[in-house]
Assembly symmetry: C2
Homo-oligomer: 375 residues x 2
DNA sequence: ACTTGGCACTCCAGGTGGGGGAGTGCCAGA
DNA sequence: TCTGGCACTCCCCCACCTGGAGTGCCAAGT
């Protein structure tokens, strides 16, 4: 048996051909040395199958495999290995007497143990840097990254705007846009701007508005958003009676904005790339597009990644989204140091260049993290 | 001959069966009366062909046509009419001895002269109103409208955020987010918020920032954006020497934001609906998706509509976008009174329910216009 | 002059029926 | 344990056919 699979790929230095796991398992007893060699070749066969299948999109047979890859054994031997791999559930045949294709489990093993991270060429690195450097503001950074990622990976790219949770209140602006209607603008230290409209009972004088503004900034400025929300709840109590009703209204809306933050914005690009892999998705392309229009789903997909630097791969049902059961999702997060500001990733067919895509995702996240961390 | 085609559909009361145009044309001389009857029946046949084809997506033949529609003539007569319609380029047959399908020219005539506007049911109206009323801010209004439109028409929906050009400066906020780096936030009376970051030579004191803010608001507040841009250009001259460099930097960025407004934001929804009509697009679905990711293209598509209340239909090559030559675009604009705030519309297959879609687009634009005009 | 039924003709859709070929599993021998 | 050989399976592709829908045209009717 080939050792089990973890859930996280690594984006660090390549770790292909790591030592085998425990040799425990049924079957005839063999010497350790021989066993290792066997194991290793089987893994090599699996790798070859995945790589060929990713390129050709056709079931790969023993003969072609033995020819194209320097396995040093005959097709017949490869056949034996393939039979074993099939028994263990790593590959399958679409129909009797056809070649083999990887199963989800096979892809998983490939990602966990067989795929190093393909380093980017210098040209690619420069392209990334140049492309992102031209950004003029936060929106632009996100827009550029998502397009870049889609272009590099030739898949659908998803980038989450820097999350509100981990940032602090920089400034709160209150403007009366028409009598009795206030616009409050919340500015965070990640340069993100949130706006809300609040209706108050009656028109306010300009100096009242100014005082509201002052009170809010004094109390909430510099706090983490979660703390600010808590503080906002207590504000009306301590206020002068004249301001209390307005403050109550403002606080309510602020808390909504701060805590519920139901508006986690997300940018998407490269949906056109889905059509290239339309065959892989058979008839479910529509379902995939629908799923990708759901913010909730996207957040679920890219929100899982914990600390920046870790690239997560989810294959097929591992995505926990039924409509995406024929896809694979590669996600990571970007941020400064250990604090994640947001997630990003790509969605593509399971038949995907994992090493290349993982490194592209990792690299873009890295640059974006640096860019936003530099403030 | 059937009179030529204009470019704009109408969203007012139905104008089906308007009187014929001039009877000038080659061919044998006939009496006016007979000529009219003939003309009219041919148009009716065209309408029937379009309607059936929209429903069935199959070339429609003379027999089915005579049966399903109360034309009062035999299939043979219908065949003659169809031959004439084909000569004139309104319909075509995919191959010899198949039924007929409308050409772009045929759809155009259908839209111009044959299609009334299907009124919405009361339930639909209520649904629209309810759905849009729950919006909490501008972003939400746009988001909800675009989704609603996609759902109602079952096509791809496009909604442009209220354009900057026709609105006025409500307030300008200047905040120093880190030493030497200013965030300027521009708030318009359409409740739109634009943000930009400006780097200045050296850190500023808080009172300097306050003065900058005051100067900008005094000079630009209440003006139309275009005028504000012009005014901003002159600002640095009249300012006190201490403020001049900062004002110059701010003015530059403001003018960019105000005039170039290269960031016309656009919301998109319902791309999944494209797959439903994938057959109509043959293999060009990818091109369509790519085109729809280009802001420029989208602006071109929905930016053409002039005054609110007019629904524009562009069919095939009329879109002036090569990738969309197999689609039809229905667009309008929304706004208050005569001033358009932005465009909206849908993109779908040429084989589309024009009356229904046109009325849906018109209705949603109407409600959105009211909603934003109510401020 | 328009309409209608009849009729021969065209051409696609869909089903059928083989080969050709790629791939497998198994076995016996090295 | 590896290898070559061999029989077998099953898909893919192509060629062929045939039913049916639809057309165009013509001659007769109104």
């Amino acid at each position: 048996m080939i050792p089990g699979s973890g859930r996280h790929g690594r984006a660090g230095p390549a770790n292909r051909r790591v030592g085998p796991g425990g040799p425990v398992g049924p079957g005839p007893v063999v010497t350790e040395g021989v066993r290792d060699v066997l194991e290793e070749r089987r893994l090599e066969v699996l790798r070859a199958i995945v790589e060929d299948f990713v390129l050709s999109n056709e079931p790969v047979g023993s003969k072609a495999l033995a020819e194209r890859h320097a396995l040093g054994v005959s097709p017949a031997t490869v056949r034996n290995d393939m039979a074993a791999l099939e028994d263990e559930g790593y590959i399958t045949q679409p129909h009797t007497s056809a070649g083999r294709i990887p199963t989800d489990k096979g892809y998983r093993l490939f990602v966990d143990r067989l795929s190093g991270v393909k380093p980017l060429s210098r040209a690619e690195r420069r392209a990334i840097q140049n492309f992102l450097e031209g950004a003029v503001d936060l929106d632009d950074v996100v827009l550029r990254s998502v397009r870049l990622l889609a272009q590099l990976t030739r898949q659908v790219a998803v980038v989450q705007y820097p999350s509100l949770t981990s940032s602090r209140v920089r400034h709160i602006e209150v403007v009366q846009i028409s009598p009795g209607r206030l616009l409050i603008v919340l500015i965070t230290d990640t340069a993100r701007v949130e706006q809300r409209i609040v209706d108050v009972a009656e028109p306010l004088e300009e100096d009242v508005v100014a005082e509201l503004r002052a009170v809010l900034n004094r109390a909430l400025g510099g706090r983490r958003l979660a703390d600010a929300a808590a503080e906002a709840a207590t504000l009306p109590e301590g206020a002068s009676p004249g301001l209390r009703p307005q403050l109550t209204a403002l606080a309510t809306v602020l808390i909504e904005t701060l805590v519920e933050r139901h508006e986690e914005r997300i940018a998407l690009a490269g949906t056109a790339n889905l059509t290239r892999s339309a065959l892989d998705f058979s008839d479910s392309l529509r379902m995939i597009l629908e799923a990708l229009e759901e913010q909730v789903v996207l957040l679920k997909l890219i929100g899982w990644a914990r600390e920046p630097g870790t690239v997560t791969v989810r294959i097929g049902r591992e995505t926990d989204v039924d409509a995406l059961r024929s896809t694979a999702v590669i996600a990571t997060s970007y941020g400064r140091g250990n604090a994640a500001l947001g997630g990003m990733g790509v969605v593509g067919p399971k038949r995907m260049d994992y090493p290349g895509t993982m490194s592209a995702v990792w690299a873009v996240a890295n640059y974006v993290g640096e860019l936003l961390g530099a403030d």
